[in-house]
């Protein structure tokens, strides 16, 4: 059995088994996740030993389905497996009191399996399928508590936004596959020229949808309606990461023009969503905005032409963000809320969890020697080495600054003030999952050189001023932390605060720009339809009336005339019969009289003729 197959099939088979057995879902889920993790680790080990593997399945004619384990895909697969496993562990505790564990864990396993397929996919068709599958399973998971108000809308919105953006992936796939003549992703990466620009921009659209980049970032915050482990998974290594992973994998193909667009989109996103995170009053929504912001930074790195930096940040962010969410989940259970005002002082009630949360927050802000420091440093260095330094560097620094600010603000709010917590079941499971992820968030930085060597790509070294990126990044991060801790948010954002809380909606955002017009068009169509329907009915009624009138006319008019004519004819017939008396002398007399009349007539005509 190929390890690739196990990595994908282990979660999937456990999902099916869970659905079939309908008992012990947590154990099965852990089993599936663990098996997948082992397989992924095996793949990674192979990759370190320089052994890739490939699994070719029969697919379309001449277009077989490929699953490949290159160093990059093995690394991503391991990342996904690790985060999934730890989140599963956490979820065992988090979902302890939920009644629908079977559905939850089955969907979660499906999600993990789909994500593994996505990262290991070696051809576009499989990638597309996996892309759709994670869209579907995230929809199911976001809408897990479908009976709560707003959840269904949130799930539908997430699904619709990502689906709309998926159109970009479809068209891009079409372009790439038709131009390269193969569905192999590696083969299509040789595409150059105008097609590459078009395909790159279309891929960017797909990535923007999945990775919640401005202006398609709105759905991610709403998706917080789902269970917290789901959020942790979505934001760290799966759904949202898919966008960035797509761009990282296709980066060799992307021409400079596309890269610049990607960098600008990422930069704008990191600033806009960073400001949103700063102004946010809900912990989970703040974390969601932060996710968009961090992925914006990754896009900046891709735009700067160093996908390696983006990958490193992706890995670091996966561990950090899932830690943060898991911590937030514990707080949520303790206070039955995620609103920051209600969570005040929670840090004193849950000191162990809070310390993990703080470590992760500092890592995200980029404090050395935590993992985030190294990846942020790499991104800033990449933007400084880029040809577009004056566009990308400000974005990268602003993102770093904002990260520090909003994390510091959150920490301050969680530490200061008073509140009343209640005891939480399953704290041990949750603590275990959290501890594992926080550990990773701390030490992953040390693993980065190994990753670099594995992928065979060195981060760019700034030969002239080697320390400059470090100084810039560190000062930005520390500045941000200080600002966030000491300056109240309304002073920090000033007039921008209300606007940031609306998600920087320009002219009402999607609600006004797209949804309302669409609904307006729909209602207009419905009115037209109704009008048409009514007019058809009216036509029908008019036809019926006309028919009745015609029938009336027929019965009393034309029929009347015809029937009276017929009666008249029958009467005439009766009269004609009376001529036939059967008495031969009468009949002869009639003949003779008639003959005489004819004769007279003829003689008269003779006279006239003469």
């Amino acid at each position: 059995m190929n390890l690739i197959a196990i990595a994908i099939l282990a979660p999937l088979s456990m999902a099916l088994l869970t659905m079939l057995l309908r008992r012990q879902p947590a154990a099965l889920a852990l089993l599936g996740a663990a098996a997948g993790l082992l397989a992924s680790l095996g793949l990674l080990t192979d990759a370190f030993n320089g052994r890739g593997s490939e699994l070719i399945l029969p697919g379309l004619p001449d277009m077989p389905l490929r699953l490949v384990a290159t160093p990059l895909t093995a690394l991503l697969s391991t990342l996904v497996a690790v985060v999934c496993s730890l989140v599963m562990v956490y979820a065992v505790g988090y979902m302890k009191k939920d009644n629908e564990k079977v559905r939850f864990f089955a969907t979660l396993l499906l999600f993990a399996s789909a994500m593994q397929t996505l990262v290991l996919a070696g051809d576009w068709i499989l990638l597309l399928s996996a892309w759709e599958l994670i869209g579907l399973s995230s929809y199911l998971l976001i809408g897990f508590w479908y009976s709560k108000p707003g959840v269904k809308t949130a799930a539908t919105r997430a699904f619709l936004v990502t689906r709309s953006a998926d159109l970009g992936l479809y068209i891009a796939t079409f372009i790439l596959v038709t131009s390269a003549g193969s569905t192999d992703i590696a083969a299509t990466l040789d595409t150059r020229g105008g097609l590459a620009v078009a395909a790159g921009l279309l891929l960017l659209i797909a990535a923007m949808g999945k990775s919640a980049q401005t202006p398609l970032h709105d759905w991610l915050q709403r998706a917080m309606a789902g269970p917290t482990p789901v959020s942790a998974l979505l934001h760290s290594a799966t759904l949202v990461a898919a966008g960035a992973i797509l761009l990282i994998r296709t980066a060799p193909m992307l021409p400079p023009e596309t890269l610049l667009v990607i960098g600008i989109v990422g930069g704008v996103t990191t600033v806009v969503t960073g400001l949103m995170a700063l102004g946010e009053s809900d912990l989970k929504r703040m974390l969601a905005a932060s996710t968009s912001s961090q992925y914006g930074l990754m896009l900046v790195a891709v735009g700067a032409g160093v996908p390696m930096a983006a990958l490193l940040h992706l890995i670091a962010h996966a561990a950090i963000k899932s830690s943060l969410f898991l911590g937030a989940g514990v707080f949520q259970h303790s206070r039955d809320s995620t609103v920051l005002d209600k969570l005040r002082g929670i840090g004193r009630d849950r000191p162990k969890i809070f310390s993990g949360f703080v470590l992760a927050a500092l890592a995200l802000a980029g404090v050395p020697p935590l993992s985030g420091f190294f990846s942020k440093d790499a991104i800033i260095a990449a933007s400084m080495n880029s040809a577009n330094i004056w566009i990308l560097l400000p974005f990268a620094l602003a993102g770093t600054l904002l990260t520090g600010s909003y994390m510091a603000r959150a920490l301050r709010l969680l530490w200061q003030g008073n509140g009343k917590s209640r005891s939480v079941d399953g704290l041990a499971w949750m603590g275990a999952g959290l501890a594992g992820l926080v550990f990773l968030a701390i030490i992953l930085g040390a693993a980065f050189p190994a990753v670099e060597s594995l992928l065979g790509a060195r981060l760019p070294e700034n030969s002239q001023v080697q320390f400059l990126p470090v100084v810039l990044g560190l000062s930005a991060a520390l500045c941000g932390l200080a600002l966030g801790w000491f300056v109240p948010v309304h002073r920090l954002l000033g007039p921008l605060l209300p606007w940031s809380r609306q998600g920087f909606a320009i002219a009402g955002g999607f609600d006004n720009l797209i949804i309302r017009p669409v609904f307006f068009i729909a209602r207009t169509c419905e009115k037209l339809e109704r009008l048409l329907y009514e007019s058809v009915l009216a036509t029908g009624r008019a036809g019926l009336r006309l028919g009745q009138a015609v029938r009336l006319n027929d019965e009393q008019g034309i029929d009347g005339i015809i029937f009276s004519f017929v009666r008249c004819m029958v009467n005439l017939g009766g009269k004609a019969r009376t001529l036939q008396s059967g008495l031969i002398h009468k009949e002869l007399a009639i003949s003779i009289v008639a003959s005489a009349m004819i004769l007279v007539f003829m003689l008269i005509t003779l006279l006239v003729y003469q």
Partner: protein, 468 residues
């Protein structure tokens, strides 16, 4: 002289057939009589075929061998054969069977002579011969109804024929000849021409049952055996109409003869259909229908001399009329004499029902059947001759005729009416006693008639080419 006889071979064959048949009848071999007559008639028909295209006179113009008389033979002789088959199935076993066949042959001979009449004396001969044989045929059942009908027929015929002979003597006096071809000399003596024409209208009007000389026809058809009624409604009538056409070809245009004939045509059609509309007896209905159809024939007669289409249309309609009328009578022989007996026939015996519908619709002149083609040509001839009003009246009468014929068609596809009537119907049924047993000869006849009715309709174009 020898050449003349060669042209008369069909008539001579019929005459010889009659003689042989008489001998056989004297020996009491009715089936031999039938065989002889049928073979003789078919032989005569076959001998007529070589005469197609001939246009001449025999015995100094006394008898005409032209398109009209040749085609009359080709139509009337097969029609006679079919009638003989019908008569056989109706009269088989009766003691007058053989006599009937011989009389039928004589009437056919007379009709064929009439169709080629070029002389007053031949006209009289034809009418008398046809008349005398017909009386005997009508009287053959030897019951009160038949005897009375034959008696009326005889009286009517005597009166009209004597009036005709009286009128014809004026023509002889005026022209000094009995030949019709000499009538042109009456150009200067219009009164004589008119009196003679009046006489001819009376004489042939009785023979062709034109209104107002039709009174004998319904009674005779009802009294006679059905097969004889079928025969009388077809063969002598067509013969008389042909004779009419032969005569009017030579009448000078000093008189308004075509107008008079048009008036008679209108009277005949309208009266026939109106009277048919109220009949409950199918035989009487068909009798009046055949009177009305004679009116349509007159459309062709009116156009003779004025339209080249006239003679062709007469021939086509004669063929169509012979086929559909014989067919209709054959179906009546199988189904029964009253409308009551027609209820549900279309369901019980679909083939018979379809055949009857075809015959009746053809009689009404529905395309693409034979009757339509014939009437269409007749209308064309009449319009060609300037009788548009007459055509309009004829078309209106066709509408009326549809009502008449649908009176038979509609019950055929209905269920029998409620039980109140069924008792009376059963009575009538027992009185009329239709031929309920399977009758292969009748079936053969209506199948042939059906094929002809359909065939003439479809082959009209071909037929016209043949005639042209």
């Amino acid at each position: 002289m020898g050449h003349d006889l060669a042209l008369l071979i069909p008539e001579i064959i019929i005459l010889l057939t009659v003689v042989v048949a008489l001998i056989a009848e004297m020996l009491r071999f009715p089936r031999t009589v039938l065989t002889v007559t049928i073979i003789g008639l078919l032989l005569a028909t076959a001998q007529t075929l070589p005469l197609l295209g001939v246009d001449t006179g025999v015995f100094g113009g006394t008898f005409r061998v032209d398109m009209l008389s040749v085609w009359a033979k080709l139509i009337l002789l097969p029609a006679t054969v079919l009638s003989l088959l019908l008569a056989r199935s109706e009269l088989a076993g009766s003691d007058r069977e053989g006599t009937v066949y011989i009389l039928v042959c004589l009437v056919s001979l007379a009709s064929v002579l009439l169709a080629g009449a070029g002389d007053s004396m031949l006209l009289v001969l034809g009418i008398l011969l046809s008349g005398l044989a017909s009386f005997a045929l009508v009287a053959c059942p030897r019951n009160d109804i038949a005897t009375e009908a034959a008696m009326k027929f005889f009286v009517f015929a005597s009166v009209t024929t004597s009036v005709m002979i009286f009128g014809l003597s004026y023509w002889f006096g005026g022209t000094g000849s009995t030949l019709f071809s000499e009538l042109a000399t009456l150009q200067t003596k219009p009164v004589i021409a008119v009196i003679g024409l009046m006489a001819v209208i009376i004489g042939l009007g009785y023979k062709a049952s034109l209104v107002p000389f039709h009174f004998w026809a319904p009674d005779a058809y009802e009294g006679a055996p059905l097969s004889i009624a079928a025969y009388l409604s077809v063969v002598p009538k067509i013969g008389a109409i042909m004779a009419f056409a032969q005569i009017v070809r030579d009448i000078p245009m000093v008189t308004a003869w075509s107008l008079i004939i048009a008036v008679v045509a209108v009277l005949t059609m309208t009266y026939g259909y109106l009277a048919a509309l109220v009949q409950n007896n199918v035989v009487r209905l068909l009798a009046y229908s055949s009177i009305a159809q004679a009116g349509y024939f007159l459309l062709g007669v009116v156009a003779v001399g004025a339209s080249p289409l006239a003679l062709k249309s007469l021939i086509v309609f004669a063929a169509a009329y012979a086929a559909m009328n014989l067919g209709a009578f054959a179906v009546v022989m199988q189904a029964g004499r009253t409308l009551e007996t027609f209820y549900g026939i279309g369901r019980k015996n679909p083939a018979l029902g379809v055949a009857m519908v075809v015959f009746l619709l053809s009689l009404a002149g529905i395309p693409p059947l034979a009757g339509f083609v014939g009437k269409f040509l007749l209308f064309g001839a009449a319009i060609d001759a300037g009788f548009l009003w007459l055509t309009v009246v004829a078309i209106l009468n066709s509408v009326l005729s549809l009502a008449v014929y649908l009176r038979i068609v509609v019950p055929m596809y209905q269920r029998r009416r409620d039980s109140g009537l069924s008792a009376a119907a059963a009575d009538i049924k027992s009185i009329n006693d239709p031929v309920t047993a399977p009758a292969p000869l009748i079936t053969l006849v209506w199948i042939i008639a059906l094929l002809s009715t359909l065939g003439i309709g479809l082959a009209a174009q071909l037929l016209l080419g043949q005639l042209g």
